[in-house]
Symmetry: C2
Subunit: 256 residues, 2 copies
DNA sequence: CGCAATTTTGACGTAGTTCAACACGTGTGG
DNA sequence: CCACACGTGTTGAACTACGTCAAAATTGCG
């Protein structure tokens, strides 16, 4: 049916399997098998490239990152990450930008705003990424026709909201920056494991700046802590490759 | 119309008006006017008292608080606060209890778990409270019959999820404990203003311990900061009455 | 009142911030 | 090609906000 080939053709990034994608509930054909048309074709566009180069504003700035969408702009679609990492940022009233989260392959973006008129954060591609796009209006229209789809949609949104809550709950209120960092590393590796299959390794495309900003600490503190964790043989960083060497110890650390 | 009397008699709690309640979307009669039956009667129980005394476990412990429901127990219903304040607590794997939020009149409780099998946090009444109860299964059943109700439900859940996110976003990643506290005070007064009509005053039933626990700081730090804010004439606390004297300054403080 | 729980205040140590310098890689322009 | 700017990351030293421990003050209740 929807078994995606494991092909690794010209684009080097690894794509998440549809069966491991959170969007699955509303992407696969809806209804009884004999239904010849696939509703999802109406609202779904599969695997769109979102690369840094696509950002027209600064055609030669490698660090700019491609904005998938921008905060406060009208909401037209929600997304599922196929490959790469996205960072989500939010500007407060003073225009100070905060990193409020990251999204990895198989995870959704902006689904929490599906029924709002505008995005409440920006999504920036860290590197050459790809996404599947689901058009909000068309999805709404289709879901009105197909009760089954609507039910899937509700459960999807509820589940997502719950998972988001868990993810953020795991990070707030940590006693020390060290335990916070440990929790963060475990969290992102865990989330990547769903498609990479390895919960101890991660190709880390997020900059120290963004991590520090997300965790609410200074770059310097983050750097020192990463050095410390490496000295203690709990993690290993070579280039962009992050490895968790002692997951149990990290978990102890993470629990305050 | 809803001019609250200033009475301070033995039942001090004010009830929120249904028109200011988040549950409204699924509480009012659904469908065309001529529809003689009101679906909501099937799944809704109005205004149940939830007082500390009702907690059978410790019949003479004033501080125990009545558990509206307990984490990990099967989910049977969701609630809307009619009067009083609830605290939401969550135990992590080690059994350490954290305060993860508060709920004021007009706000919902456990709606984020409506489609889960069990509650993922406990809700404790701080004082003599009351709630409206919506039974999950019956609501589901009714919503399958009435598409209009289902639509309302989806939009309700989405809106709630969004508001929750905003509420928590406003607090995470604050630079100092002081700005965090300022943001918290503004937040709870704001939320109470919806039914009390006054965004600068609040009858504070939450203990310092719970506030400190929620904000991730020590009771001592909280106490010192409250004293400091009072010295600076930004707030005033007499008994359980909290007044915000300089909202603009507090807002500046809150913005890191 | 008198006891217990809660809150406040004080003194001190430390984790994390701040400021500054430095190292490294990369793109740019003379 | 080298010099330079620039972004990113690491390290050092001084400062400070918050946590910790302890004790006093206040509140609440039988």
């Amino acid at each position: 049916m929807t078994l995606p080939s494991k092909s690794k053709n010209k684009v080097p990034s690894r794509f998440v399997d549809c069966v491991n994608c959170s969007m699955q509930a509303i992407c696969q054909p809806i209804g009884p098998e004999d239904q010849s048309i696939d509703l999802s074709n109406n609202y779904l566009t599969r695997r769109i490239e979102v690369s840094a180069e696509k950002d027209a504003s600064q055609h030669l700035n490698q660090a700019a990152g491609a904005k998938l969408f921008e905060q406060a702009k009208p909401l037209t679609a929600i997304f599922a990450v196929c490959s790469g990492t996205f960072k989500l940022t939010q500007k407060n009233e003073e225009g100070i930008e905060k990193v409020i989260g990251f999204r990895f392959p198989g995870e959704l973006i902006a689904e929490d705003a599906l029924f709002l008129e505008s995005y409440n954060y920006s999504a920036v591609a860290l590197g050459d990424n790809s996404v599947c796009e689901v058009f909000a209006k068309k999805l709404s229209a289709c879901s009105k026709l197909a009760p089954e789809l609507q039910l899937n949609l509700i459960q999807l949104l509820t589940k997502q909201s719950y998972e988001q809550q868990c993810n953020s709950q795991a990070l707030v209120g940590k006693k020390s920056a060290e335990s916070l960092l440990a929790a963060f590393l475990l969290n992102i590796c865990q989330r990547n494991a769903k498609h990479s299959g390895n919960s101890a390794k991660l190709y880390l495309t997020i900059s120290r700046h963004d991590i520090a900003c997300f965790l609410g600490m200074r770059r310097e503190t983050l750097s020192r802590l990463l050095s410390k964790l490496q000295q203690e043989q709990l993690i290993k960083i070579s280039g962009k490759q992050l490895s968790l060497l002692a997951i149990d110890t990290l978990r102890q650390l993470a629990n305050n």
